[in-house]
Structures are given as structure tokens and as C-alpha cells.
Symmetry: C2
Subunit: 592 residues, 2 copies
């Protein structure tokens, strides 16, 4: 119906007759002439209707915001002085020769220009079809489409097969709450929607598919935190007969290709790697934001003997940790700001936030420091702290002292927060692999081992003995890809031997009966020539959010749900007929 997109026109089209279709973005009547900015997927162009053609002009007068028009016109240069350099089509305009109003529109309840984002999210979700007309939202969904395209083309070229796995399936082992689907043909029984295709992709390796990928929908019925959705999408990958180094190299190349193709940006080659232990030690986190030039510095060894319990006790506790975090030019912080950070670390369980302001160390030594805790610290300790943190005048040193997990979480978070607040973030994209994760964490409450990744993650070959002798020391063959402080992908080499899988289940206090019931088919499959295999999954929503600079994954999904897992547009979920429930052998439970 058209010859071009509105946004494609430029001075090369001058003199051409074109047919355009699109929406009335803005109409202005000026000097007896009607100007309409016509909008389509590719952009805006200015159409001019002059009164020389009274019939067409009269139709143009009817046009209101969001009316759908088909315009025939001639492209011409804009008169001198009216060129709009902010608009890609700003050098030209289209003289309207014919006009058909394809559809009318009521006045939209949200603005479709740059002010649209100011509307309440509720309104934006309810009128999602209008919100999505905004150029910003269009750009985000296009980037998403280009991202999946770039991933697919890369993987296709590498011999990966795109294979679909079921959505109606059995409960998966990720441990979050499943969405259930009642079966009509098996009354009283339920399918589960997959939390990931984990077991199916392992089965595909056992099927000899060798290299698999899928852009897979996954489901978790969780209490939605700020930025979770009941359904989300991951790029799911699994390969056979490959070491972790080989797989990580391919995945790095894929992400580099993606950023080159979609963002025009070169990522480092290779990505740096950090062990889990080093990441926790230096950054207090297994997804360190390498844009932040601050690090945690262990000072526990300096504190074991001090007469200050807040430091001495964690310093002496094998499960405790004492760290310093030097903030360059932190001496500028006001009392109020420091109080704010004290509150902030409190969210992570820290009971306080000790600090030393370095006012004039170079000149005055200890006298040049300012701190409520200074009186508890002997000279030797202070000298050692100053030397180890390399603090200089004008800096401020924060301290964290508590159980290791509390210190890591609170000081790791403070590190990132300070980086943001103080404008310390390095530009650009800073990917890093985190490797050498422990196989297990100790659940303090139940005194049980829990898998740090999932129960199918393989231990290091050379540490198989530790499964027996010291499970807590056993490292896994897992790897996470972290980008600017966000985990964008995670995976592992899997267990491919029946006996090892049973041993891991046992350590996780999964009884033979439970294992049989939940994963019996996998255990059985392991006995029929399972190849060594491993994989990874990338969170697509989060990755696209990072790439587009959106602040919520809802902004990179066409039809997201609210925090209470409802769709405001279609009004789902909704009640169903009693008959439907009967067919499913279900009854709504009356409130207690």
C-alpha cells in the first residue's frame, strides 16, 4: 500500500512521488497551511497540505492525533530556514497530493512523544498498544529482535541445532515454585511449566544432538521482586564432548559478535576470569561490577589482638571477615552521607559502618586521622591499615566486620553504591567470567549442603575424592558470565556418570526415592551411554535491558505482567466457568 516508510525519506528522494502510511503524530495549522508529522516504524516525516487542493485540505483538517492516514505526495526540500537538523528526515517534507483516512482514533490517554514515559506504569500497561507506539519502546523491541537474530546466526553457523523442548512438562529441579497445569485426561494430575529446559537439554545430549540451542520461555511462580516476571526468556545452550574452556571460548565469541553487530562495540578478547574465591575476596560478590575501581582489602590479620570486639571477634572467627574499603576523596562525605551509607549496609545485615577519614596523614600521622574508632586501634594496626589500603590525604576508609557472608554482601553492595554515587564507574562494557565455584554451600539453618548451582553440575575431575572427604572444599565445573555487575549467563559441565550423580544427590539429602520420583528418567538415561556434556543459559530479558539502557525488564517485553503477576491489558488471570473446572476435576477451595 506504500512506496516507502516515512522515516526512510531524505533529500535523495526529492522530486519523487511517494505513498506513505502511518499515524498522525502531530498536526499544526500555520499560515493557512496544515503540517502533519506522519509516523511509522521507521520514523517521522512532515507532510504539508496547502489550500490549493481544497478537497484534500478538508480531509487533512479532519485528521487528529493517532488517525491512520495513507498519503500520496511529492518529496521536496524544506524551504530555507525550516530545515530540522534533529530529525533524520528534517531536510525534506512531503507535499500532500492525496489523502485517505484509513482509520480514526479517540484521544490517546498517554502521550506518544518523549513525554509518554512519564505516564504511570499502570496506564502504560493497560494501553500497551499505545505505549509500544512510542519510538523509545519500538527501539527496545527492535534491539531485542536484533539480539536474538545475532545469537541465532552465530550459533547456526557453529552447527548448533535449534530444538524445541516441551512447555507442558514435569516439575523441574530449579527449586522455585512451579506453575501447574491441570490435566483433563489424567484427572488429579498436573503438568508443570518449565523453570528451564535443563533436563531436556541434557537428554538431547544423551540423544547425540551434540550442539543444541533454543530461545526458550521459562516460568517461575515467585513472589515478584522488583524486576522478575512470571515468564522470561533464556538463550539455552548445551554441547557434548567439549571442555569448559572450549565452550566458554565459543560463548565469549558469541557475545563479542553480538555487541559488535548490535552495539558497534568491541568487547575484550579474551574476557578476564576471576575465581569465585578471588571475586568474593576483592569485590564481596560473585557478580562483580568491574566498572567500579574500589576493592575490599582484608585487614582481619591486623585485628585479632585489638581491644575492640567489633573487629577482634570476627577477626578471630574462622567464619568472620574484617575488610577495609578505601574511597578516594571520600573525605568530602558529610556526616549525613555517611549515616546514609550506614543505613544502606544495614539492609544487608551489617550492624554498623566504621570509618576513618584521612585528613592529613602525610603531615600529621595519626593526628591527621578522624574516626570514632581510632581510639580502639593501636598504632601498629593503624600504620598497617594505611599502608595496605594505600590511603592518601582526602580519602576515607570504610570498614566491614562481621560474619563473612554479611561483610561480603554489605561491603560488596556498598562498593557498587559508592561507585555510582561518586561517579567512579568506568565507561563501557566490562565482562568477566567467574569460575571455580564451590559445589556446595552449607545451609546454616538446616545444617545441610545445598548446591550452589544445581544438582547436575559436575565437580572438578581431580576433586572427585573431596565429595567423600570434604564436600565443602570441592569445586565445581561451573562458570558465570558477568557484565557490569549483572550475571547475564551461567552454566556448567554436567555430571555424565550415574554413580557421581547419585553421590551428589546423597550429599544434597535427596533420598533414592525422591531422586527416582523426580529425576528417575534422567538417572536411567545416564546408564545408556551418556556423553560428557555441559551448557549455559543467558537471561535474554536482562541482557537486552542492559543493552538498551532500560531500567526494568518490563520495558523490553512486549506484554509484561505486573508485580502481582497480572496482565492489565487483557485482564488475565480471570475466573473460568464451573464446567471447565469440572472437566479438570477441580474445585475452588473456599477460604478458611
Amino acid at each position: 500500500m506504500r512506496t516507502q516508510y516515512c522515516g526512510e525519506l531524505n533529500s535523495r528522494h526529492e522530486g519523487q512521488e511517494v505513498v506513505l502510511c502511518g499515524w498522525v503524530h502531530r498536526r499544526r495549522d500555520h499560515g493557512g497551511v496544515i503540517f502533519i508529522d506522519l509516523r511509522d516504524r521507521e520514523g517521522l516525516v512532515q507532510i504539508v497540505f496547502d489550500p490549493d487542493r481544497p478537497e484534500i485540505f478538508a480531509r487533512a483538517e479532519q485528521a487528529r492525533s493517532e488517525y491512520v492516514l495513507k498519503v500520496t505526495g511529492r518529496v521536496r526540500a524544506r524551504p530555507a530556514g525550516t530545515v530540522n537538523p534533529d530529525l533524520p528526515t528534517g531536510e525534506i517534507e512531503v507535499l500532500g497530493l492525496d489523502l485517505e483516512i484509513l482509520n480514526v482514533s479517540e484521544t490517546p490517554p498517554i502521550q506518544l512523544d518523549e513525554h509518554g514515559a512519564d505516564a504511570s506504569e499502570e496506564l502504560r500497561l493497560r494501553y500497551r498498544y499505545l505505549d509500544l507506539r512510542r519510538p523509545e519502546m519500538q527501539a527496545r523491541l527492535r534491539t531485542r529482535s536484533r539480539v536474538t537474530q545475532a545469537m541465532r546466526y552465530f550459533l547456526d553457523a557453529q552447527g548448533f541445532l535449534d530444538i524445541e523442548t516441551p512447555i507442558l512438562t514435569k516439575s523441574t529441579p530449579e527449586g522455585a515454585r512451579d506453575y501447574l497445569v491441570p490435566s483433563r485426561t489424567h484427572p488429579g494430575e498436573f503438568f508443570a511449566l518449565p523453570q528451564s529446559p535443563q533436563l531436556f537439554k541434557q537428554l538431547l545430549m544423551m540423544s547425540g544432538m551434540d550442539r543444541y540451542y533454543q530461545i526458550a520461555r521459562c516460568f517461575r511462580d515467585e513472589d515478584l521482586r522488583a524486576d522478575r516476571q512470571p515468564e522470561f526468556t533464556q538463550l539455552d545452550i548445551e554441547v557434548s564432548f567439549m571442555t569448559e574452556d572450549e565452550l566458554m571460548a565459543i560463548m565469549e565469541t558469541m557475545i563479542r559478535t553480538l555487541f559488535r553487530d548490535v552495539q558497534g562495540v568491541e568487547l575484550p578478547d579474551p574476557f578476564p576470569r576471576l575465581t569465585y574465591a578471588e571475586a568474593m575476596r576483592r569485590f564481596g560478590s560473585d557478580r562483580p561490577d568491574l566498572r567500579v575501581p574500589l576493592e575490599l582489602i582484608d585487614v582481619g590479620d591486623l585485628m585479632t589482638g585489638v581491644d575492640f570486639k567489633v573487629f577482634a571477634e570476627p577477626a578471630q572467627d574462622p567464619e568472620g571477615r574484617v575488610v577495609a574499603l578505601r574511597l578516594p576523596r571520600g573525605g568530602e562525605l558529610s556526616r549525613k552521607e555517611i549515616d546514609g551509607y550506614t543505613q544502606f549496609v544495614g539492609i544487608y545485615g551489617a550492624r554498623g559502618l566504621a570509618y576513618i577519614k584521612v585528613n592529613a596523614w602525610a603531615e600529621k600521622g595519626r593526628e591527621g586521622l578522624q574516626s570514632p574508632i581510632l581510639k580502639f586501634l593501636p598504632d601498629g594496626a593503624v600504620d598497617a591499615i594505611m599502608a595496605r589500603t594505600e590511603a592518601v590525604d582526602g580519602d576515607l576508609i570504610f570498614f566491614g566486620a562481621d560474619k563473612t557472608t554479611v561483610v561480603n554482601e554489605s561491603m560488596g553492595a556498598l562498593r557498587v553504591r559508592l561507585g555510582q554515587d561518586r561517579g567512579l564507574l568506568a565507561e563501557g562494557w566490562h565482562p568477566v567470567w567467574v569460575v571455580d565455584f564451590p559445589m556446595f554451600e552449607r545451609d546454616a539453618v538446616n545444617q545441610r549442603w545445598v548446591a550452589l548451582h544445581h544438582p547436575f553440575t559436575a565437580p572438578k575431575e581431580e576433586q572427585l575424592d573431596l565429595l567423600q572427604s570434604d564436600p565443602g572444599a570441592c569445586l565445581s565445573r561451573a562458570y558465570d558470565m558477568v557484565l557490569n555487575g549483572t550475571e547475564i549467563g551461567g552454566g556448567s559441565i554436567r555430571i555424565h556418570r550415574d554413580a557421581v550423580q547419585r553421590q551428589v544427590f546423597k550429599l544434597l539429602a535427596i533420598t533414592d526415592e525422591q531422586a527416582e520420583d523426580r529425576f528417575g528418567f534422567l538417572l536411567k538415561a545416564l546408564r545408556f551411554g551418556c556423553p560428557p556434556h555441559g551448557g549455559i543459559a543467558f537471561g535474554l530479558d536482562r541482557l537486552v535491558m542492559l543493552m538498551t539502557g532500560a531500567t526494568s525488564i518490563r520495558d523490553v517485553m512486549a506484554f509484561p505482567k505486573t508485580q502481582s503477576a497480572a496482565c492489565l491489558l487483557t485482564d488475565a488471570p480471570s475466573p473460568v466457568d464451573e464446567n471447565q473446572l469440572k472437566e479438570l476435576a477441580l474445585r475452588i477451595r473456599l477460604r478458611a
Copy 2:
């Protein structure tokens, strides 16, 4: 871990040292030497272990079927006389220099060679990971992956955006039974799994996305017929500002590209088109198999006056039809075969199958015909039938006479059946578009109009008046793509005007309240500048089934379900904990 795939090796690799990983397909001990056919995704290669290397040889002796091996070896030409021309790698073999047994295997319960397909489908589904190792199944899933790849590349190049629509959604209007998902956060309410993304793709057009596609999972909780699955996949497409001819042209090109790229076959350009009326008249079906060179020939006008009620009554009935179907060389059919076809048309409601054998018409005229019904037909009618069907000696003419729907269904099916049984099918691929469908069919039971496609299908612009005056005569802007007698795609231009949509709902006896409840959000969206739009959906499973020559869609899905909608591999669906039900405010209904 390897240097090549097994199946990639050929005489160009002679002399090279290679590392291969794969499964023991077959082991033969012959003349003191061990031969192992090692199999991976790309094929088989013969490995030879000789006793010169006793340690390696001893390991090779342990290898059994489906053991997983890593073999280092040297490629060499096979000795003269042992070349295997049936095997792509048959000119060479690999002398085993090192061998690692990566995993062992129990004896597989199904054979993984060409005999594997003979195993019961139950066994194949239960051990799907073994069934999928069979080269035939591997090839099918690879073709599937290549088909979606070819579709995507084509659509990406045409500016279509790949956009994901929700799986947890509101009941959709296709009319089959929905799968429901109870909501935990909204007790007593349910999501429905989509039967198609129909409404969302229309909303995406209202969002200005212009060209959308998605390879979308769809769900129907139907009583499974021979070849349905609870979840299936369609290539879902929608565009704005395009006429049906423009869209059909792009879609044809896509399918031509697909067959060229994946099958190496050229399809006709353009595809032929048939109106619905012509398809029903000539083939008794709106998905005619054009490979069959037989046609239905109307003879009702010859029968209105005959003294044979079986023909005369339907001939006089405006809702009746009488047709002839000439089968060249059908005179060869035995009485028993004709009885078989009589039974066959009975499945479709036909109460009999009249016929005339043309033994010697050229020489003897009427005396040369043989038929139980001949005595009822006057000479004029017989002459006219013979002339109209152009029957010659040796032929047989079948007759169908009944209500039009019964005649079309039974004789349309007979036509295809005869084509198959008598080896009349033309070679190759025969696509055809069927167009000009009626908007509505009359539901004889409820005396109501029902939509032939779905309620969002637009009527022909020039026939809008007929919605009021004669709905049964109103044609729609729908189109189906049919390939070798299977509908592989179907779509339409949609209604984009509020008033027309309401009028169609009214005709379909959908009350304002029902419309508001089920499609309120769509009706609302139509009021905010909905562009003219339309689309199509292709059934991916069925298309891949056709392309691979599989006889069931289960054979082109990695993990299909049984006819009772169960997964034999994972044992889904299955019972869930009482606690889970409680969280969902549900109770299992006790049997009455």
C-alpha cells in the same frame, strides 16, 4: 575434545591423525582384529584396533553397543575390496592408536540402526533419548532446525521483527478447549495457555510494529486425534498496510525459498490459486491434493428427472449435489475393492457408492456398460454422463449423491484415496492457494452463523453490505496455503474497524456483554487508530512432517506426548503435593 566429526572423514584426510568422540554403533571381531563403527551426529566411521597395541586392544575389547568412546587414530585408505560404497566414509578407516572409554552403556532396549523404527512407539517414547540417536530421527530434527532457520533468515531480511507474546494469557477465541494455569496471587482465577497468538499479534499491529513474526508455541486441550499434539508450533506472521495479494506474494516467496534451500526443489512461481467455490466443486475439498488427476463432475442437472430417487432427490434439493468421478482404468477394480470403497465413503456419511463400469462403450454403447444402477437411467442421461466425464473403455465412473457436504466430504476423500491406491499421484510438490472463502457457515443444529475462519477475519470491502442483507453470500479476505492436500498455512486480512467487528460479533450471536468480557481489550484498541492489517500462520510440525516424509508429527518433535496427552519419558502429568494445591486455592474434586 575432538578434531572432526566421525561422519566428516573421507579420503582427503588420509594420513592425518584425528581425535573422534562418539558411540559404538557396532563392534565386530574378525581375524584377530576389532572393528568398531563409531557414530556421531554426522555419521559413522570404521575404527580398526589391532593386537599390536595390546593395552588399547584390551580396552577396545571392553567396548559394547552405545559405549561412549574417545579415539585417537590415523586415517587410512581401506584395503582393496573392503571399500563400502554405501557409507559416505566408506573409502577410509581409522587405525586406533589410543582409546578412552568415556562412558559405558547397558544394552539398549531398542535397536539404533534401520530396525529401530520397528520398535513399538511406546518403547520409542519411553527411551526417547535412544530413539533420537537413530540417524533417521536425527535427520528429521535437523531438517526442522534448517526449516525454521530458512524462515527466519527470509523474514529477517524482509524487515519482520521477531517479537515474543505471552504464554500465560487470557483464554483465546479459537474455540478449542484451553489449557488453564491457576494463579496463586489471584486465588480462584486462571491464565489460559494460548491456542495462538492471534490477538497479541493484532495488538502488535496496533502498536505500529508493522511486520511481526514469531515461531510460537500453541496449546489445545483437545481429544487427540491421530495426529494432534497438546502443544504445537506455528510460524506466526502479521503485517500492516498490506493487501492480501502483497502478503501472499511474500509468503509464497518464503515457501519457495524454504524448499529451494532445504529440499533443493523449485516450486511454481506464482502458486496457482483456486477459489473456495471452485475447490469444492472440482475436488470436494478446500485443501485439494493437486497431485491427484481426478475431479468431481457435477451431473445433478442430468438427474433431476430420472426415476431413481437416490439421484433425483439430491439433484432437486438446493442443498444437495450429484457428482460423477471417473477413474481411468477403473474397470480393473474387483467387486471386493469396490465394496471396500463403498465402506470408505460410508465413514463420511455416504449411504452407498453407485458406479458404472465402462467395458465396451465405443463398440456396444449402453450394452457395453455394467452397473447395478443402469436400469434407472434413461439413455439421454447415460449419454450425457459419458460425454461429460469423457469416459473411455476400461474406465469406471463412481457417483456421489446426497447433501452437498456429504458428497464433498465422501467423494473428495475417495478421490484422494483412489489417487493413492491406483498410483496416480503426480511426483513432487503441488502448492495451491485457496481464496474467496465464505465469511460464515450455517450451523445446521443451532441454526446459527459460525465463522469459517475466526471472528476477526475481514469481509471483502465491496461486500460489506452483504453482512446485513445476505451474510451467507459474503466472502472473506481469507487465504489458505495447501500443499499436496495438506493445509500448511492459513490467514486473512483482519477487521480493523470497530463497527465492522461489532457487526460480525452480532452475526455470530456473540452478545455485547460476551464480546466485552472476552475481547473487550481488542475492541477498545480498535478505537485508537488501528491500521489495516492481516496475517497468516503456518503449522510448523505438519510442514516439517511433509518435508521429511514422516508419517506422524510425533516423529518431527523431540519430546512428543502420547494420544492421551502424557509424556512417557518423564511421566508427566503427575500428582502434586497437597501444599501446592492449597497455595493455589484448589481441591481435587472427588469422583461422583
